[in-house]
Subunit: 190 residues, 2 copies
């Protein structure tokens, strides 16, 4: 019985290694409806506990009606940069209502939503779109504006577009953030 | 002022579109320590709320000491298939202890851990490794075995390796799971 050893590939894929959250987006880039479909398609195929798929999304292209309804709920900090992104997507997690038992996987809903959003943002990278996730907005306001029922939590928002620095306009500080090294995030290994 | 339109790319990246959670892994494939480094490196570079990086990992290669300490805590369901995977990684989320205030981002810790694990599993795909995440194991037992303090939650586990079906041994049912279509996961768009 022979062992099969996969060749050593120590490098992180360039799309993942080069990823950062832009501090500013090019205000002219347009993301098409077909590209939005692709982002949603990537999210939809993400894994989830028991295939529960505890995610929904609200998507507004810069200039459309949904976008216009989202922008007033941005916090002052995010209102500086997020509206110029090509696309704003609100990420919703299916959570349990206290006192009910209608949802088995609530414990994993945010974990699963995080995965779906990661799949969406990495899909974005493959079609040239950077992403910046944030929570600086009025969650209750957005839930009310879009009639989101209480068993769905307005969890986070993602701005998609092309980083302004990519067009030479702004240098993003996104890549300079301090990170723990892999030994610091490893509790145990042999 | 001209608009810049990114070419339409409606296809989901093949690595994401073809991804599935194998029901069985090839029991001979070896994942090297350098490949584990790459997986951890991808996780480490994932985004998180306020760059909080609320994740840690316990990693055991099939046959090593950490692996031997993990296997007894698998549930009956996962013990059938998970031990033959090349690598088991336990995913830990930094959570708030009730009554304390030492961690600002606990609300997002599972969301962020889900993203880090997604980055790790997608990195795995780029080096030929499939992944199957699961929760069918004794969390408290693993926390105790590895001395994990209570502000870290043993959240999930990922088995990495090469799907057995890829070597013609087993057809995985992973790809046949029913999924909502993108309209069903979109609460609002223009």
């Amino acid at each position: 019985m022979t062992s099969c050893q996969i060749p050593t590939v120590p490098e992180v894929h360039p799309a993942l290694a080069g990823r950062f959250s832009p501090a500013a987006f090019d205000p002219h880039t347009i993301v098409t409806s077909a590209q939005l479909d692709t982002l949603l398609e990537a999210a939809r195929r993400a894994p989830s506990a028991g295939n529960s798929q505890p995610w929904m999304f609200i998507a507004g292209h810069r200039g459309d009606d949904v976008h216009a309804r989202l922008v007033p709920y941005l916090a002052r900090s995010s209102s500086v940069w997020a509206p110029t992104a090509s696309l704003l997507i609100v990420n919703l997690a299916h959570v349990l209502i206290e006192g009910t038992t209608d949802w088995e996987y609530s414990e994993f809903s945010r974990y699963d939503l995080g995965q779906a959003v990661a799949h969406m943002t990495i899909q974005g990278l493959t079609i040239g779109l950077d992403a910046h996730q944030f929570r600086a907005f009025d969650r209750a306001g957005i839930a009310s504006e879009f009639g989101v029922p209480p068993h769905w939590e307005v969890t986070s928002m993602t701005a998609f577009g092309v980083a302004a620095h990519a067009r030479g306009e702004v240098i993003s500080p996104g890549t300079s953030q301090e990170r723990a090294d892999i030994n610091e995030i490893t509790w145990a290994r042999a």
